[in-house]
Symmetry: C2
Subunit: 349 residues, 2 copies
Amino acid sequence: MTSDPQKIRIALDAMGGDNAPECVVSGADIVRETHRHIDLVFFGDKSRIEPLLKRSRHLGNATIIHTDDAVSPDDTASQAVRRGKQTSMWLAIASVADGDADAVVSAGNTGALMAMSKLQFRTMPGVTRPAIAAFFPTMDETMCMLDLGANLECDAENLVQFAVLGQAFFRSLTGGAAPRVGLLNVGEEEQKGHEYIREAGRRLSDVELGVNYQGFVEGSDLVTGNIDVVVTDGFTGNVSLKTAEGISALFSTLLRRNLDRSLISRIGYLFARNAIKAMRRHIDPRHYNGAVFLGLNHIAVKSHGGTDKIGFANAVSVAAELVDHGFIPDVSDAISRANTVLEKMKEDV
Amino acid sequence: MTSDPQKIRIALDAMGGDNAPECVVSGADIVRETHRHIDLVFFGDKSRIEPLLKRSRHLGNATIIHTDDAVSPDDTASQAVRRGKQTSMWLAIASVADGDADAVVSAGNTGALMAMSKLQFRTMPGVTRPAIAAFFPTMDETMCMLDLGANLECDAENLVQFAVLGQAFFRSLTGGAAPRVGLLNVGEEEQKGHEYIREAGRRLSDVELGVNYQGFVEGSDLVTGNIDVVVTDGFTGNVSLKTAEGISALFSTLLRRNLDRSLISRIGYLFARNAIKAMRRHIDPRHYNGAVFLGLNHIAVKSHGGTDKIGFANAVSVAAELVDHGFIPDVSDAISRANTVLEKMKEDV
């Protein structure tokens, strides 16, 4: 007999994303169907949210915190922070900072969400910079990559901390014991790449650090399933992620276009449809939706702005799983242990 | 009536690549079948090359320049340069530098090929650093990207020169009049990305420069067909290229695996086979094989080390087309015109 999971509360920025608030409410409804221990709190325009909740199947009693104001997708991060203290995004984050909720999820402006989360949640002691991490499909399982765009310029210390954060994140969501960590580089040989990457590699090789470091990996290794956590700077991570999105779109379009070109291939598609659907399901970005800001004192999850209810539900599940698994105390322990070792390394030099 | 193209000679490093010299000879044989104006000169172990030429269909009279020595895939660039003056790679490059051939093609060690080519060909006047460029498939046509790994750290001046080089390269191989050039970045807004990328963007926006500059592009734009020349530093370019390779492999594997899972999907494949083959052909890396070193005084083409004869033949064709189209005088003009404008920009500041 397993005990019921402890009740948790997730704050939702109901006005963030291309299809808000409809997508936020219907995504939350999907989550609530199978996860009755999650209470959802909606921040945003009550006149638009309330009718949606009434029509929902499982959210009739959910709380709405009304505000007229919302962050615009075009705001810069600093504009949003300066002018946005009454926005649905700010208030949702504030509810977590104040202890009224356990995690926040938003499909709104990424830069604003990061800036507001940093300001209200503060960076975890010992972490120089928070990073954005997410999961992606590989040949067989999944891997996670960070940073995906929070820090365009990084040094060796940042990368080592990302490795520790990413390892804790992977463990928390998959239960895997010792995730294999790699540094993204332009070759596997020790002398390859930028000096700060080689320096990060040297530090990560110290077994005392407790990172299961596998060395340098290349862009082509991301999907092989041989690595669980891929660490890189935010510029490279963002380009790699978006290249992957582009190539996926290229494949899907070419496959559809070619299958549609003749009667015989359309017949073939009828027979192969389930197989092609299974492939699409394996790489469906909605099942990987939910990028997490690592290195803050609370959990903030960024949903893709253009996702649908299935994708938004996944982002909410990511937040809930991190809360359920005690991710924040876990990662905080990992960072403080790692920093002790890193300090000792510096003294030994 | 079109006149026969002028005779040209291409020097081949017969010992470079995983499947040398077999793949080099059979690739050259394919080229020679349709391009009788191309003479091929083989550098390497005569005892191994000669029997292959004898068995070839169109290379019976080809010249062999014998040497016992070859660059190893494990050599660093500086080891190869120091010890490698009798290698097939060095001698093939030397024959072009000496005016005995018009271009060199090698499937060997990339770092060694770049170092030896730089040393013997010299950088073109006005070019700060040569770059590696190649073509890739998009939804409808192709695009070219540079740098793919020659320069891990770049500044604004490098990126502007890459744009000029890439534009001339694209024009030379496609005949397109004013290729659309973009800078790879993490967002399309002007304030995004590293400062040196924004500075390169400002310089490229000057119409005097003669670059059809379209602004920043993201990884997801690479395949849309809206951009012809994508400019980036060698680290990012290499990661993006290899990510694309990885995702392509992921798709192919998942498609094959899922189609193979049931009898009904295998039947579907029989009908859809031609459509799936057409898609594979569209993105077949062999048809894009042949990375070109831009910014040197002569033409050097790097074939993928693991390609087959079809891929190697494509690399030789790339070299031949560049010679046929007078690429070197063309790009040299473009660079000197661009530098005049850039000098004027500096004075105006």
